[in-house]
Symmetry: C2
Subunit: 421 residues, 2 copies
């Protein structure tokens, strides 16, 4: 019998949780309720873990929590819920997590859900589910279910909550092992401006019998890649878009955090790095670009995506940061430098660049000196006794480069295999 952890604020949603518990039981699933209420209340509804225990797990007591403002109280209860649920999960006490909530309940429950591995069913019925949910979902496989109305019981929501409970029960069914699962898993990163390279590489890898996991490097993609490598779900990495590192170092919006490009090395996985899209720093609408950069070189990819060209100084700095990260690799690593350009825009036929206000830019986007500053700096700081480095007179989207990258990764994997054997 499977058990699902229900994380709820029983002070306001006791009846709704009672209903969901009935529906889960009807499907043969055992509910296990953790109460994350932030205010004292007369408890009519039973829980397996009380809000007092949750507060205590966060190192405080519930009376103190119930006197706090909403935001700090939420923070305490989130912390307590994470600690207790991680312990319960390690003990094998539940196999899935489910919750119903408004903004407060969603914030707490999703922060907990994000802690559990991909594949563990996570379902959030949330009044926030028809809006910007990135903060709730993060890079995880959290299922967001929009309840149409508020989280309160009526004819319509009973139908929706019952659907949610049955969806959770369905996900908790035993999965059958699949023969395909034995294939070697290669992570590949992609971004619009290096798409041709990524697509070609993916086909070639699949032809060789590998399975490819594609990550779009918009911040969450890179985070997912790094975390999945840490969890041991990935066997090798072909990093074609490293723009998230640029955003982290220079200050764009698509950063994947300070440890991007590090997990594969730390785990000793074979990796080939073609530092694609390092020529651009990502912003949203033009007003999201800091004032100090208004006279820099820009390109408006869409009305909601504004790209800034990295300059020589930043490129040099980036080269050093890349080298420091890659030098720490415990496994085989190779850097391939596409001398003719790092993205579709980084080419003599690239787009017309502008200043932030739309005036012509002081120079074109294509900037070989900036590229050179990057790879010279990278080479100078790289420990060439341990890390491979090759300058290739091709553009990143040249099919020959994708082919070379795949061949090299394949070689690194076989060499590693031999070393192991």
């Amino acid at each position: 019998m499977k058990t699902v952890l229900l994380i709820g604020t029983l002070d306001t949603k006791g009846r709704e949780y009672q209903y969901v518990q009935e529906k889960l039981r009807a499907e043969g699933v055992t509910p296990f309720v953790m109460d994350v209420s932030c205010k004292t209340f007369e408890s009519e509804f039973a829980s397996q873990v009380s809000c007092r225990e949750v507060a205590k797990a966060a190192g405080t007591d519930f009376v103190a929590v119930s006197q706090m403002e909403r935001v700090p109280a939420q923070k305490v209860m989130t912390e307590g819920a994470i600690r207790l649920s991680e312990k319960l999960y390690q003990e094998g006490r539940f196999q899935g997590v489910m919750a119903l909530g408004g903004s407060n309940g969603t914030a707490i429950a999703c922060a907990v859900m994000q802690r559990f591995p991909v594949g563990v069913p996570k379902l959030m019925v949330s009044t926030m589910a028809s809006g910007d949910v990135r903060g709730y979902v993060g890079w995880k496989d959290i299922v967001m279910f929009h309840p149409v109305g508020d989280i309160s019981l009526n004819r319509m929501t009973r139908q929706i909550f019952a659907n949610a409970a049955r969806a959770m029960a369905g996900m908790l069914k035993e999965a059958s092992a699949e023969k395909e699962d034995k294939k070697i898993q290669i992570a590949l990163t992609v971004f619009g401006v290096v798409q041709p390279c990524a697509e070609r590489a993916k086909s070639l890898l699949e032809e060789k019998g590998y399975e490819v996991m594609v990550f779009h490097t918009s911040g969450t993609g890179g985070m997912a890649l790094e975390e999945l490598v840490k969890e041991g779900r990935i066997d090798a990495v072909l990093d074609i878009s490293t723009t998230e590192v640029t955003d982290e170092v220079v200050g764009g919006v698509l950063t994947a955090g300070p440890t991007r490009l590090e997990a594969a090395g730390a785990r000793g996985l074979p990796q080939v790095i073609m530092p694609g899209a390092i020529d651009l720093v990502n912003f949203k609408t033009p007003d999201t670009v800091p004032e100090k950069w208004k006279d820099r070189v820009f390109y408006r990819h869409t009305p909601h995506i504004t790209l800034m060209r990295t300059n020589i100084e930043e490129s040099e700095c980036l080269g050093r940061v890349f080298a420091e990260k890659i030098n720490r690799a415990k496994g085989p690593a190779l850097v391939l430098i596409p001398l003719k350009g790092f993205s579709a825009y980084d080419s003599p036929t690239g787009p017309k660049a502008i200043c932030l206000d739309g005036r012509p830019a002081p120079r074109s986007w294509f900037w070989p000196e900036a590229d050179q500053a990057f790879y010279e700096s990278l080479k100078n700081h790289l420990d060439l006794s341990r890390v491979g480095f090759r300058e290739v007179p091709l553009h990143i989207n040249d099919p020959d480069l994708a082919e070379m990258a795949v061949e090299e990764l394949d070689r690194l994997m076989h060499e590693k295999g031999k070393l192991r054997a």
Copy 2:
């Protein structure tokens, strides 16, 4: 045996759809595939409805579609898919809808899903699911499932796609009828600034044995209310927050479209309208407010919510618009005017108002003359021979007003009942 409509672009995602079909069949669900590919391709994968048929249903042919740009092609295929799927649904050919997609596939499939009633299982596995999904979900109960990686098959995504298929199969299980479902369903609208009124009214309605459906009037809430009334799922309406009408008329961001406040009347449902929150026009960050209004009266509710006070001229106009909408009601309607203020901010103890740039505002938020312009105009344009109108010397959040509203709605419902009998 239940059938699920799968809406997919088989040109790029054939293998993934094949996998999901296997998983659905393993759960006893029959897949029915509609191909919405926008480009010609060599078809390896069977579908029950081909992309040629979809294009034809939209009044064009697929060769033409495959030569179009992405956006117009998407539009055509969406239109064709909607027409065919609505017909299939009417014929009882499927009981749920599911899809996997990137931005293009998600746009097409979710536009189709939005056409089907609440309660019909709708599940979208989408690379866009960890971002702003409002355009995809709308006000419906569409379940968004984030696949972590791209829509391509590997060890991780197989686990995720299988979970999605099992969630869909779970939702398709027969629901049991519930005795609670016989209760009368009352829709109630709410917004932060009229929360005390809404909460009190909800409790009182529940004490009387009604079930309450709560709608947060942030645009989608009002749309949901109006559509659910049209579908016959609601028996009476207590409209406490009508701020969406203000946004529609003046030009804020939380409009629910031009027909808000009309469905209940058109269906002849009893309704009590307390025009709460008509004193504010909603914007996001200050830069979303049109330049022409920069010297108006504002309040920054949060960094992401900027409120503008309606002025006398707008209030007068609003009163007329409300009257025109309410005059068309075919059922009993009563307007209650809270003379001491329409929102928590519309009070002598309300917040300190500012101009858009943060300087002190030309006047305070509390503006009895603007309120008066609204209700005088409303009264003057209202057909008082058919619609009830009462000015009450209370603030909207006074518990006595909530009580009065509930008593009056209860009375209208009983009177209507007598007329029917």
